[in-house]
Every structure is written in structure tokens, then in C-alpha cells.
């Protein structure tokens, strides 16, 4: 049967998807900062993002939104510049607190106590939709993944959106609680934790050698055709941390490859000049309550 699909194994197409990583920002916020930001969005957001706008948003949405707006500032652009961009957001267990509150209220008050906001604001699509609304940007917006290994799903989805030659770029956001937030039966946090959002601004490759580049391709390693494992997907996080470590050491360039599942691999290449390298602690050592954006390469 396989011969119908690949008459000559060597002739298999190994087409790759390449894009430029125009900028990258990591934002980490604690519960107090998130509460403050809901009260005073002007701390990080442009005027159109009001307390009313954020009222029903999930904390992962707000952190991701903060990272997007931070990236726009670092790129020296305005939200209007991103009107045709797409958005792909991989949140991890988004809406868990709100859903616990919903179940609690349903148990106590019956169906009439259930909020109408849970489904629009706390499901997988909600982070990307809110970002789309905030800027506003009118390309496709998608949620991806949903669990601990959703980062790969988001990159694969972004690759599809960027296949449209008219698409000027795609925002990719990854967000999660570190450590996973403990909540009570009403959905209220009972532990200290920080919400971390990473934002990648991906654009079609415009130069022959972009300063920072992602490439997803069919793996050249035949062993990687084995079934997916959690380890293979989580290697992306490992690679991201390696990347951050390497950039901290201010190299002129580096290349790294990680095996994704299903016979794909992700290559990351960075050719940023030393002069543009910023000091950046690794993701896991960002001090609580601080904002530590990282610029890998400026747009344009």
C-alpha cells in the first residue's frame, strides 16, 4: 500500500516551512500584578484596552496581551501595523478557575447562576480572539493545543497561516502558570504562582538570511517517525530555554534542532549581531514581579 503514496522512499518530499522570527517577548506576572493591571490597564496597554475590555478575560489572556503589546513597543510599531496579521495562542488549561467557579455556582444556584462569559472568554479560542479584538487584527485567529505540549501545535498552526502569501505575519503566544495554580472549589487561587506568556512575532522570510529564523520540516532522521511521546513534544520547551541561555551568552549566531512528534523537526537559527544581543535571564529565573522582555531581532 505504501507504494501508492511514496513510490520511491528517497523521492519523498522534505518540504520545509521557514519564517522569520521578528521579535520575541516573555512576560511574567503574579496575581497581584494581574489584579492591578485589570484596574489600570494603562500600565501596559494602549487606551482602547479599558478595565471593561479586560473584565471577563482570563489571566492567561491578559498576560499574553501584555506580551503582544510589549513586543509591538519593542518593534517600534503601532497596533495598527498588524491589521492583517493572524493570531495563534497556545494556552495551558485556560479557564480552569472560571470553570471551577461555574460548577460551584451551578451546584449552589442552579442554571440561572451560571455566567454567560465562561464560553466566550475561557475556552481555547479565547486568548487569540481577545488579542485579535484588542489590536485589532483581522487575520485568522486560533487557539492551539490546550495542554502542556501545545507550543508545537501553535507553531504548526502558524505555519499554515503564513502559507498564505498575503499574510504579513502571525502572532504566536504560549501561556501557562508556573507552577500550575492551585485553586479552591470556587476557583479562587490558593497558592502563589506566576503567569508566563511568550510571544513570537513571525513573518514570512524577506531576506535570504534573516537574523532569526524558524524552520519546520519533515525530519531527516528516520527514527523520528516513531509515535509521538510527551518527551519529544516537550523538547521544544527545552530548546526554548537553550535558546535563551545561548542568547544570554551573546553569540554571533547559533543553530539548534529539536524533534517534534510525527516525523517533524524544528530548527531555530539566530544570526543577530552581538550589538543587538540583550542580556536575558533564562525563563525559569525571571524574578517574580518583573517584566523582562527579550528582543531577538528588530523588525525591518
Amino acid at each position: 500500500m505504501a507504494q501508492y503514496f511514496n513510490p520511491a522512499p528517497d523521492a519523498r518530499r522534505h518540504l520545509s516551512f521557514r519564517c522569520e522570527l521578528a521579535a520575541w517577548t516573555v512576560v511574567r506576572m503574579g496575581l497581584d500584578e494581574l489584579a492591578a493591571l485589570r484596574q489600570e490597564p494603562g500600565l501596559r496597554f494602549p487606551p482602547q484596552v479599558t478595565p471593561y475590555f479586560l473584565k471577563n478575560s482570563d489571566d492567561q489572556t491578559i498576560t499574553s496581551l501584555a506580551a503582544v503589546h510589549e513586543t509591538i513597543r519593542l518593534m517600534d510599531r503601532t497596533p495598527q501595523d498588524f491589521r492583517e496579521w493572524g493570531v495563534v495562542s497556545a494556552s495551558r488549561y485556560v479557564g480552569r478557575g472560571a470553570f471551577a467557579a461555574t460548577l460551584h455556582k451551578y451546584g449552589n444556584d442552579g442554571p440561572w447562576g451560571v455566567s454567560v462569559q465562561v464560553i466566550p472568554h475561557h475556552l481555547l479560542h479565547s486568548v487569540s480572539s481577545t488579542i485579535s479584538l484588542s489590536l485589532p487584527c483581522q487575520g485568522p485567529c486560533l487557539g492551539a493545543g490546550g495542554g502542556p505540549q501545545g507550543e508545537v501545535d501553535a507553531l504548526l498552526a502558524a505555519a499554515n497561516l503564513l502559507a498564505d502569501p498575503s499574510r504579513p505575519g502571525v502572532w504566536v503566544t504560549w501561556s501557562f502558570w508556573d507552577p500550575e495554580l492551585q485553586i479552591d472549589a470556587r476557583g479562587k487561587p490558593t497558592s502563589k504562582s506566576h503567569c508566563i506568556a511568550t510571544v513570537l512575532a513571525l513573518q514570512p522570510v524577506r531576506d535570504k538570511h534573516p537574523r532569526a529564523e524558524l524552520e519546520i520540516r519533515a525530519s531527516r532522521d528516520p527514527q523520528s517517525r516513531s509515535a509521538a511521546t510527551a518527551e519529544s513534544k516537550s523538547s521544544l520547551n527545552t530548546l526554548a530555554n537553550v535558546m535563551l541561555d545561548v542568547t544570554r551568552l551573546s553569540p554571533k549566531s547559533f543553530e539548534a534542532v529539536c524533534q517534534l512528534d510525527g516525523g517533524l523537526e524544528l530548527g531555530m537559527t539566530w544570526r543577530a549581531p552581538v550589538s543587538e544581543t540583550l542580556e536575558m535571564p533564562t525563563l525559569n529565573s525571571i524574578p517574580a514581579g518583573t517584566r523582562q522582555p527579550l528582543v531577538l531581532a528588530r523588525a525591518g
Binding site: Y4, I119, A163
Partner: protein, 411 residues
């Protein structure tokens, strides 16, 4: 798309309120049979809406351990059933481990449905989510012994169309030999029925369930939730021809754009919905007057149906007056994340059977929804090009163009 790059649907599996599998679903859609009934499975007497399109028990597929299947969540059962049926239907079940088979799943509320089910059985996964960190997509891949990439996407109620488009892209890149793509949603739960009900998005015509959902009708008063899903085997036309496979249709075009207008309410400006349709038609190289059928998103909400009417007129122009349009949600209910996947089957029905499924309960069309309706009875006519619109919360607009393979071959 060139003929060599064409992607065909060579298999499908589906579980829906109007039946399972292509033949049963097609027969019931063309017969105008509604799957909307009184809600069962949980106490609902205090809900504003007490009707929905629910599934009965999902039978364990052949080749799957019944004991394992019985322990799966309802959402997983529907996914596994659809994927296995699609593999069998395409004739690729036995070869599944020889091929790079990818899986793209449209799942909009995977975690919530997991937590909800577990919570109702006194579980603690809601409070300890890492206890069950493997996604349904990953588990399905493992159970079926597939080796291609897997991905979960959500564009709210447009998830199914998005999943199909991603799978086509993987085929184009050569990352997979074939790809399963589709969506499932088991959204008829106490909290979603309550939340959508409190939003006043659901019909309150509880007395006669099968007559409640009335897209484009003057008396429409909201949608009805449904559950189930569908997965398709997408395959390069080249390999499908080589193995002399049957094809339901070619996936000819796809478009997507966001309104960026409101998280819930449809955008009064049809521009981005029009753009999504025009992108899909351009990709398929189809002119509006070549379209034989549009399966509308039309959920039966007063505003949503009106907004889609504007989109259809804007995208199709003068041709809109004569292109048959129907909403099969009138029979299935709104399957949320899975709506687009199931409505693709309505398009395949029209293509394969030469008859367009009707909009049932369309007794008095709203004059503001001035479209070429197919009210209450199927319309027999050849269908070569069918378009399926799906829109979602957050302003997601998508459009999918399906083309009959026989027409393509004859061209």
C-alpha cells in the same frame, strides 16, 4: 489548485444527532429528520432551554478494546469512533502503520469537558490538571498506532473548517502521506446549556423540540445545542487515483478572516465574512455563478442569520439570488466546535446524492434573509460545487469549498 496538488476526501467517520456514518446521515438530512429531542442525561427542568441534539450510546468500533472504550470520556469516544471509521472507510485501516498519517483535531472545549465529566464523578482533575496531561489528540494517535504529526486547534464554531485546511497544508508540504482532519464536541452539558441559555442564545421553544430550531424563519428565537462530530481522511488525489480509491469530494478552497469586533455578537459589518468566502472561492478558482449549493452557518439566532445573509449577498453578488442555501443545523442542532465538520457532510450529501438537504422549520422566511432557500423539502439537482460557511465566537469567519471529483475528472 492543480490536479496533481488536489486533496480528496476518501473516507469519513461521523457520529451526529441524525445518525452515524455517511449513508445514515445523508438519508436523514435529505428526509428532513430532526435529531433535536428533550435533553436527557442530567436534570434540566430549571434550564431555560431543555432541548438539544444529543447522541445515544456510541458503539465501540471494531478493532478497539471494548473495556478501554467504555472507560473513555464521551468526547474521546466520539473522536476515536470517527477516526477509526474514517480509516476503515478510506480502506487504509490495515495500512495505518505503514503510512505517515497525521491528525488535526478541532476541539474547542477539551479541557472543560474533561473536567466537567470528571467533576460529576467526584474526580479532582479540575484541581490537579497535570494528572491527565496527555491530550485527546496524542492519546488517539497512540491508540491507533499512527506516526504522523498531531495537532489540536480551535476557532470556536469554525474549528472543523480550520482543521481541514491545516491538514491540506500538511499534505501540500509532504509532512504526511494522508491526514485525518475533523472535529468533535460534546457540548450538551449542564453548564453549557445554562451558559448559552442565560446568554439568550438558545431557543426556548421547549414544547415541540424538532420544530424549535428555525434558521432564516421569521419566528426564529435562537439556536439549539447539538453534539457529535466528524473526521475525514484527506489524501492527495495522486495517491487516491493510484489505489483507485473512492472520493467523496475534493477540498478545493478555504478562506478565513476575523471581524475583531466582539467576543460574542456577530459583526454588523459583513466585510470580513465576505473576505473569507472570497478567499475560499479564489483558492478554488470558482466564480459565484458556478456554486451549486451553500450550507450556511445560520444558527437560528435573529442577528446571526441576518449578518450571514449580508455576507452571502456581498460575496456572491447577483448570483446569490439563484444559489440554493440551507442550514442543516435545523436538524442537527449547533454542534459548536464540530459544526463545520458535520456540515461538510451535508455538502458531500448534496454532491454525492444530487440533492440538497433542506432547512426544516422554514415556514415563513424572514424577508430580510432574502436568499434562495431550500425550505423543508430537499431539492434534487446536480451539485458540483458546494460551499460551507462556519463562523465562531471571537469573530472567526471561515468558508470551505468542496468540489465533486467526477466534475473535476470530466473537466
Amino acid at each position: 489548485m492543480t490536479q496533481d496538488a488536489a486533496v480528496w476526501m476518501t473516507g469519513l467517520g461521523a457520529v451526529t444527532p441524525v445518525g452515524n456514518g455517511f449513508l445514515e446521515i445523508s438519508q436523514n438530512l435529505l428526509a428532513g429528520k430532526s435529531g433535536v429531542r428533550r435533553v436527557f442525561g442530567f436534570e434540566n427542568s430549571e434550564h431555560p432551554c431543555r432541548i438539544a441534539g444529543q447522541l445515544g450510546p456510541i458503539a465501540c468500533p471494531p478493532d478497539f478494546d471494548p473495556q478501554v472504550f467504555s472507560k473513555l470520556l464521551p468526547l474521546e469516544r466520539s473522536v476515536v469512533r470517527c477516526c477509526i471509521d474514517a480509516l476503515h472507510d478510506s480502506g487504509l485501516w490495515e495500512q495505518r502503520q505503514e503510512l505517515r498519517i497525521g491528525v488535526v483535531m478541532g476541539l474547542g472545549a477539551e479541557s472543560m469537558q474533561l473536567w466537567d465529566n470528571d467533576y460529576r464523578h467526584a474526580g479532582v482533575k479540575l484541581f490537579e490538571p497535570d494528572r491527565d496531561a496527555e491530550s485527546i489528540a496524542d492519546r488517539t494517535q497512540r491508540w491507533l498506532g499512527l506516526s504522523g504529526p498531531v495537532m489540536t486547534v480551535s476557532a470556536a464554531c469554525a474549528s472543523g473548517n480550520q482543521a481541514i485546511s491545516h491538514a491540506c497544508r500538511w499534505l501540500e508540504l509532504g509532512w504526511v502521506d494522508v491526514c485525518l482532519a475533523g472535529a468533535c464536541d460534546m457540548g450538551v452539558t449542564p453548564y453549557s446549556l445554562a451558559s448559552f441559555g442565560n446568554l439568550r442564545a438558545l431557543s426556548r421553544r421547549n414544547e415541540i423540540p424538532e420544530q424549535a430550531l428555525r434558521p432564516f424563519d421569521q419566528a426564529r428565537d435562537g439556536m439549539i445545542l447539538g453534539e457529535g462530530g466528524a473526521f475525514f481522511m484527506l489524501e492527495p488525489a495522486t495517491s487516491a487515483r493510484r489505489r483507485n480509491s473512492r472520493a467523496y469530494a475534493e477540498v478545493a478552497g478555504f478562506g478565513a478572516a476575523s471581524d475583531a469586533s466582539h467576543m460574542v455578537t456577530p459583526c454588523p459589518d459583513p466585510a470580513r465574512g465576505i473576505m473569507a468566502m472570497q478567499q475560499a472561492l479564489a483558492m478554488a478558482n470558482v466564480q459565484p455563478d458556478e456554486i451549486d449549493y451553500v450550507n450556511a452557518h445560520a444558527t437560528g439566532t435573529p442577528l446571526g442569520d441576518l449578518c450571514e445573509t449580508r455576507i452571502l449577498h456581498g460575496a456572491l453578488g447577483a448570483a446569490c439570488a439563484s444559489i440554493p442555501v440551507s442550514s442543516t443545523k435545523s436538524m442537527t442542532g449547533h454542534l459548536l466546535s464540530a459544526a463545520a465538520a458535520v456540515e461538510a457532510i451535508a455538502c458531500l450529501t448534496a454532491i454525492q446524492e444530487g440533492a440538497i438537504p433542506p432547512t426544516v422549520n422554514l415556514d415563513n422566511p424572514d424577508p430580510e434573509c432574502n436568499l434562495c432557500h431550500v425550505p423543508n423539502q430537499p431539492r434534487e439537482q446536480p451539485v458540483h460545487i458546494a460551499v460551507s460557511n462556519s463562523f465562531g465566537f471571537g469573530g472567526n469567519n471561515t468558508s470551505l469549498v468542496l468540489r465533486s471529483v467526477s466534475a473535476k475528472r470530466c473537466a
